[in-house]
């Protein structure tokens, strides 16, 4: 197998609060190959967003990268200098965020915000950059791009703003695009369009995608491999079909089961939507042993006392006492 | 509950001022008005007169200590006045709406358009100089802040249905105002009053300095400064000490207000890192 584009190895992210240090994420490891779509799934607060920020070097106080490595194209970047990060961000790794309204500068026309990328990384003049910004808008299928480049963010709909964000992130053809819940804040009808646009553009340019979401169904449909995070740790990582067909970890199973499916009522008769009981623990109060044990239907004493080790699978791993 | 440095330092300064005011008869060295010995006029600070003496030979230290009473009283009374007026107007305006709300909003805008010092000057022009008119004037100048907060709170509660629910339960308007709205705005009100006290003390100093406030021979920090102005060349300590008294007291109130804001009203716009 050729060298992966991105390798995250035993990454720890620390959180400082009231003088104490907590681990917001631990032992996070995954690999993304060139051009591959990889999904990171979990509930709010599980640490997936801060992992993404760590890969971009955007963690700020009170968060910081602790132990572990982040290797981009063979280069270790977890403690890269500010100057190196400036070169990498935007040109090698791009990111789009969840809330397109607040993610764009309200006082600057969207065309200029796209054009900034070309001025920053490709030494373009502003007029060149604005022309290329218009092209970029065309690529993300925004109608009448020559007019739109002068619009301000508040004049665009949510879906259009997200297209602008995609245009910005992909402007300099990065090798990796990180998408942090890009469609969560959008209308359902628009979500599919945006996802298709993203995957289409990335496939055409050979850009790998790190897709972060709480929606397992969405991620499994667009990604080749999926990792499931819970309470700061990756609990399972498998190819997408395997995650659906044979989920190993009880949490993954709970997630898969809780997805409503068409035709299910016909098969199984009337039933309530299935859910996973309990809530995600807070960073300052993780349970001992396996962190999922308070909510796990199969928890035993071992689960409550000892943290499970990683068990390797044919194409992935799982972290569970019973199914490892 | 962690109390920041602001609250401690501010609270201490204010505490000292209050203590000085209350304990004045015991910690002053002389009678601030009567003990005037022209033989001792304009002496620099010494063991006998820690802050020196003024043109009439009175001990500055004692006058400052007694002056604390005036400044703090003016500050407290005027702020109580402002709060009462502001809260009443704000609550009723928000509650009853309609033309009354328009009137109150118009008045508030009007008050905001007139600088408070000018307004106080105008009122004192009518009422004449003296302590009472000073307090009245200062008590009428800054009610608009508490008014706005009270009104905003009522409107927000109204839109959340609290008021309707209470009415359905049969509560009268007054009761709703007192039990629902007031507790929510108590925090911001205290902050406004604390910061407002500082402003009132500064205003009192300014007005007394102009000759409109407390008239000599009674000691108020402001009137002491106005007396001191002409002697600035020969006896600078006459200006320094009353000014420092004002500065530290107001600083204390400002720090305290800031500290309280962190505790009571954490969503306020002034934020630290």
């Amino acid at each position: 197998m050729s060298a992966p584009l991105l390798e995250v190895d035993d990454l720890h992210i620390t959180l400082q609060s009231d003088g104490k240090v907590f681990n917001a994420a631990e032992q996070v490891s995954f690999r993304i190959g060139r051009g591959e779509a990889f999904g990171l799934v979990g509930e709010s607060g599980c640490g997936k967003s801060i992992t993404a920020l760590a890969v971009m070097g955007l963690l700020r106080r009170p968060l910081a990268v602790g132990r572990g490595r982040i290797v981009l194209d063979g280069e270790e970047i977890q403690h890269a200098s500010a100057a190196r990060w400036r070169e990498l961000r935007g040109s090698r790794v791009g990111m789009i965020f969840q809330e397109p309204m607040t993610a764009l500068n309200p006082l600057s026309p969207v065309g200029r915000q796209i054009a900034e990328m070309f001025v920053l990384h490709q030494n373009a003049s502003w007029s060149e950059a604005m022309d290329r910004a218009e092209d970029a808008l065309r690529q993300v299928q925004v109608p009448s791009p020559e007019r739109r480049i002068k619009d301000y963010p508040h004049q665009l709909s949510g879906g259009m703003r997200q297209r602008v964000m995609i245009a910005i992130a992909l402007a300099c053809q990065p090798a990796l695009l990180i998408a942090d819940e890009p469609t969560t804040a959008l209308d359902v009808t628009v979500q599919a369009e945006i996802i298709d646009l993203m995957t289409g553009l990335c496939a055409a340019k050979g850009t790998a995608i790190l897709m972060i979401s709480h929606d397992l169904g969405l991620v499994a449909n667009m990604c080749r491999r999926v990792a499931v995070m819970y309470a700061g740790r990756i609990v399972e990582s498998q190819p997408a079909e395997a995650i659906f067909a044979t989920p190993r970890h009880p949490y993954t199973r709970g997630l898969v089961d809780s997805l409503p499916r068409l035709g299910e009522r016909a098969k199984r008769g009337r039933q309530r939507l299935r859910e996973i009981a309990g809530v995600v623990p807070s960073i300052t109060a993780f349970p001992a042993g396996c962190r999922f044990n308070p909510r796990c239907p199969e928890a035993t004493d071992t689960c409550r006392s000892t943290a499970p080790q990683v068990t390797r699978l044919p194409d992935g791993f799982v972290r569970c006492h019973h199914h490892g | 509950m962690k109390l920041g440095a602001n609250t401690w330092v501010g609270g201490s300064l204010v505490g000292i001022a209050i203590a000085a005011a209350i304990l004045a008869p015991w910690i002053a060295l002389t009678d601030p008005v009567m003990d005037a010995n022209l033989m001792n006029a304009e002496l620099p600070p010494s063991w006998e007169f820690p802050f020196g003496t003024d043109a009439q030979g009175r001990d500055i230290y004692s006058r400052i200590v007694y002056g604390a009473r005036v400044s703090l009283t003016v500050g407290i009374v005027s702020q109580i006045c402002n709060s009462l007026i502001g809260v009443t107007l704000g609550l009723t305006a928000g509650f009853w709406g309609g033309w009354w709300d328009d009137v109150v909003s118009g008045l508030t805008n009007l008050m905001l358009a007139i600088p408070s010092l000018v307004f106080a000057l105008a009122i004192m022009a009518i009422l004449g100089p003296g302590l009472v008119s000073l307090v009245i004037a200062l008590g009428l100048t800054s009610w608009s802040y508490s008014c706005r907060i009270a009104r905003a709170q009522v409107l927000s509660l109204k839109s959340q249905g609290y008021v309707q629910a209470a009415r359905i339960l049969g509560y009268g308007d007054l009761r709703i105002m007192f039990t629902q709205v007031l507790p929510n705005i108590l925090g911001p009100l205290i902050i406004i009053a604390t910061l407002g006290m500082g402003g009132a003390i500064l205003a009192e100093a300014a007005l007394s300095f102009l000759g409109l406030g407390i008239r000599p021979p009674f000691p108020s920090w402001g009137s002491m400064l106005s007396e001191a102005r002409d002697q600035i060349r020969t006896a600078p300590w006459l200006s320094v000490f009353p000014g420092l008294a004002i500065f530290f007291t107001v600083l204390g109130l400002n720090l305290l207000g800031d500290g309280l804001r962190d505790i009571l009203d954490p969503q306020a716009t002034t934020r630290r890192a």
């Binding site: 955007l58 607040t102 006082l107 | 300014a206 500065f247």
Partner: protein
């Protein structure tokens, strides 16, 4: 855009009218206070017949609403009455004083903006650092200062002790006379601006779109230049506007201290001499200035924030 302008300007009129009404009411509320004021001056007691004639002249016996309308009419045409003291038209008295007051206010504001905004900015860019603490301590001290006491101390240090600057007066209208009063007046707004700028910049630095800017690979300096500045400006402009407007009122004491021949010192003198028409005129002028500045600030918003323009 023009519509916005016209609307904003139109908003002044009701407030101005209300202020005129308030001023009118305040000084008419004590019947005969105008005339009796002259007696308290210590001048010779006036002949009752003369007083009666003056009352008729001034229309003090007419019903209140008539007097008010007459007053509004006069004000609109620039006739602010006649000073009791000097018998000159109030407008003329004030006219000579406007420029010195404006100079003082502008100079004070310039000082406040230069020092205050800079301090606030530096403090926000390095929160928790030494410069942050020093700036904020300076700011809160500035807010706690009695402006005239500070002016007095400045006067003592720079004029009397060091003899670098004149201690009072307008002099030839040059810069040397302006420095001390401007600093004394400007220290309060400077402090407020420092605090507000710091808060505004911090807010913006933590905003989502700044994170986006960083994710583009921008240096922190570029982030500040291209994205932070304009957004923080909005809040700063608000405060500058508010402070500016009320500075003329706050200048009253500083003007008196430094014997500065402005509208403020005229106001104080008139209050003492119970020269009511002049007092009224000064108050109106100060308020008009405030409203005018407010409108300018509103217009500045329209220029800075496109959401208002195209929203």
């Amino acid at each position: 855009m023009l519509l916005v302008l016209v609307r904003r300007l139109g908003n002044i009129i009701p407030t101005l009218l209300a202020v005129v009404a308030l001023v009118f009411l305040l000084f008419s509320v004590l019947p005969g206070s105008f005339i009796s004021g002259m007696n308290e001056d210590g001048r010779s007691v006036m002949d009752p017949a003369v007083m009666e004639r003056m009352r008729k002249e001034m229309g003090l016996d007419d019903p209140l609403h008539e007097r008010f309308l007459k007053y509004v009419g006069k004000v609109a045409t620039g006739d602010l009455g006649t000073s009791f003291r000097t018998r000159e038209p109030v407008a003329k008295l004030m006219g000579a004083r406007i420029w010195p007051s404006l100079k003082l206010v502008f100079a004070a504001m310039a000082f406040a903006i230069c020092v205050g905004v800079t301090l606030g900015f530096l403090a926000a860019l390095r929160p928790g650092s030494l410069i942050d603490t020093v700036s904020m301590v300076t700011a809160i001290s500035g807010l706690s200062l009695s402006q005239f006491w500070f002016g007095l101390m400045l006067m003592y240090l720079f004029a009397l002790m060091l003899n670098w600057l004149p201690s009072f007066g307008y002099g030839d209208g040059g810069l040397r006379n302006l420095i001390l009063p401007a600093i004394a007046l400007g220290v309060g707004p400077m402090a407020l601006l420092a605090r507000t700028t710091r808060a505004a910049v911090l807010d913006v630095l933590n905003a989502d779109f700044v994170r986006t800017a960083r994710s583009k690979g921008m240096s922190e300096r570029r982030v500040v230049e291209w994205h932070v500045l304009r957004n923080a400006l909005v809040l700063v402009v608000t405060i500058v506007g508010l402070q500016f407007g009320s500075l003329m009122g706050q200048a009253v004491v500083v003007e008196k201290l430094f014997s500065w021949p402005g509208v403020g010192s005229l106001l104080v003198d008139s209050v003492f001499q119970r020269d009511m028409p002049t007092v009224q005129g000064c108050i109106l002028l100060i308020v008009l200035f405030f409203l005018f500045i407010n409108t300018l600030v509103d217009l500045a918003y329209v220029a800075i924030d496109p959401r208002i323009r195209y929203g």
